[in-house]
């Protein structure tokens, strides 16, 4: 199922005009976020519901407004503990704990909240549109 989501997010980000590298970054962030939800909120049960919504938004950036993709993932699993959502030092070479690091590296905004009995993860990635060079 994760494979289907990855393909869909890849197509969506490409259509929105993200660069190839940013498309891969958003796909990676969503995949890692879903993996974390399945592993930690649903304790490995892959058939539990996760709601995903995607919005093109104007978000504040550097004192101005920027074109961005907002992704909201919601689950009804175990309450995530924000204190434990800190990743780990990369110098400590061992398996595990990389998912959150990947999400933070790939997205511009990563916010977690708990509302009405649901965990909510909000991810934002700004569209970096290249300005045409003079004389081009």
């Amino acid at each position: 199922m994760l494979c289907v989501v990855r393909n869909a997010v890849g197509e969506l980000t490409a259509k929105l005009g993200f660069s190839e590298s940013d498309c891969r970054a958003v796909v990676r962030a969503v995949d890692e976020a879903l993996t974390n939800i399945i592993r930690h909120a649903y304790l490995g049960e892959q058939e539990q519901p996760i709601e995903a919504s995607f919005h093109r938004i104007d978000a504040p950036k550097d004192g101005q407004s920027g074109d961005a993709l907002e992704i909201i993932l919601e689950d009804s699993g175990l309450t995530a503990d924000p204190e434990k959502m800190c990743g780990r030092a990369l110098e400590d070479v061992r398996p595990g704990g990389l998912g959150l690091h990947f999400i933070r590296e790939c997205m511009d905004t990563v916010e977690f909240s708990r509302n009405s009995g649901k965990n909510q993860l909000r991810l934002v990635k700004f569209l970096h549109v290249q300005t045409p060079q003079k004389g081009a």
Partner: protein, 110 residues
Amino acid sequence: MQIAARHLDKTTIFDISGDIDLATSPQLRKALLHELRELKMPRVVLNLGAVRYIDSSGVASLVEGLKASRDVGSRLILFGLNKTVREVLQLSKLVRIFEIYENEAQSVAP
């Protein structure tokens, strides 16, 4: 994900294709640990040229294989890294920790 094993003298070469993710990384981990811990192969080489995607659980399996190889005095070698795989190893700052070559000839050289 699919894994095919080839044996060459004291080397095992795994040709891996497809996606290495939450569902498939246990299969990779099992294959690596079997070859390293149980068969004690002196050199295990992973051909990642046909890997389309690898997530953090796949990276964790590679790290576990690397640790097992160090424990038993073997070598774990990666080659054929495409942009996606290389990006993930760079993100996790593991590029310098693994023994990585461009192609199979370099990976199996004495």
